[in-house]
Symmetry: C2
Subunit: 257 residues, 2 copies
């Protein structure tokens, strides 16, 4: 990354909202596992969730969308804000680490820069279709990869807590909003959506009860189509009813599985 | 408020986290109504939720507790963060209004102060025992009062939206955390707690189903005591099992009424 670009991105006090960052926990679902897209910044050994600063010309939601776009190549993803994090110690202890990223790019942060002062993180989670994501490094990333939420690497600052709280929020929200449109293929079987919900919640859900509640919402429809998955096993395929799904997203539903 | 105190509170760039405020939607329950504690700042006609800035020496949660203490006289209240609000327009349009508050105190904000720049609000809601609250004005309040959430006055900035979102969050959280310890008297009848939940959710809840689910959590116990509420009507009193209640708060429960 050019030195000038780096400086513009981080030290322009007029351009960015001071003392605030946006972090975005990007979730994907693959091989019956919930995964999260993490980066390891240049010169560091620890990983971070996707993050960035807020331009004074944009909303915090726009900042979160831009951060997701930078790492996934996708726009307009489903994202939800879940919590902000802020206390005097959260980034200070590891500021020396971050300094390496700047110094490695040939830039010395001014000692009074807001960058190394109290930092509030406004955190979002984003749901993505794993197979559509074109994972891409931002300029400060040395590495970027999907990690299973159950096996996270060593993480910078309080980012392990941020992922943990994102997962808690997703587990809570799954009862109030339809979730799956972004995470499943266009056509899916009932065992597939059942497995997705069990994976996210981290617990078994009674099959009959789950199916009954889900069908009662009208957000999925059975297709006149089956998929062969073995001898004598051809379960029906289903798809989301986009209009009802979007209405349920907007108005909320209540799914007490 | 002394001019000096006012300046220290708002223009000390070293003392406060810039570009960020904390707003706290303080709920109380009285006469079968959910109410919110609002202030009308000096010289203004519109009302606000309780708010303030974050000292660089405190966490955002401590700031929220301090804001609640300043208006209720109570410490250690149950509070929950629910969402942050931030976009270029949210406070700018009404900055001229806020200027009146400052000018009324004989203070002219520096034109480049972060106070009138992009402002992120980190919003919390707080649950209080209505009868224990000693409502008290802060220095900038001309008036302070409880308002029914269904009949809010004209509100400054996006504070009507902040109350609306706080209520949505409370309605969502009520399924995942026990709620009531702060809002009900120490001893209460089943119709009273049933009525509290119906009031918060804004909808009727089947009586038998509600009681069955609530009792199954173990968070309330029947006392060997009744209250006479009319001829031949003496319902049993109940109380919260504080240990189980606190465990449920910490671990979460799931109440699908």
């Amino acid at each position: 990354m050019a030195k000038k670009e780096f400086e513009a991105a981080h030290f322009d006090e007029q351009r960015y909202v001071k003392n605030v960052a946006v972090d975005n926990v990007i979730f994907g679902y693959h091989d019956r596992e919930l995964k999260v897209l993490l980066q390891r910044p240049n010169f560091l050994s620890k990983w971070t969730v996707a993050g960035g600063y807020i331009l004074k010309t944009e909303s915090i939601e726009e900042a979160a969308h831009n951060i997701a776009f930078m790492r996934t190549g996708l726009k307009g993803l489903f994202l939800e804000q879940f919590r902000s994090f802020g206390n005097p110690a959260r980034t200070k202890d590891e500021w020396q680490e971050i300094k390496k990223v700047f110094e490695g790019a040939g830039v010395t942060p001014p000692p009074d820069s807001w960058i190394q002062d109290y930092s509030v993180s406004i955190a979002f989670y984003t749901l993505t279709a794993f197979s559509l994501v074109k994972v891409q490094k931002a300029a400060i990333d040395e590495a970027i990869d999907w990690w299973p939420v159950s096996q996270l690497p060593a993480m910078l600052f309080d980012h392990a807590l941020i992922v943990e709280e994102a997962l808690k929020a997703l587990r809570r929200d799954i009862y109030h909003y339809p979730i799956g449109y972004e995470l499943l293929p266009e056509k899916f079987t009932l065992p597939e959506i059942h497995s997705l919900y069990e994976t996210i919640l981290g617990k078994a859900l009674d099959n009959r009860n789950f199916t009954r509640k889900l069908m009662s919402t009208g957000i999925i429809t059975k297709l006149d189509e089956t998929r062969s998955i073995g001898a004598h096993r051809s379960p029906y395929l289903y798809k989301f009813e986009k209009k009802k799904y979007d209405a349920a997203l907007k108005e909320g539903i209540f799914l007490g599985f």
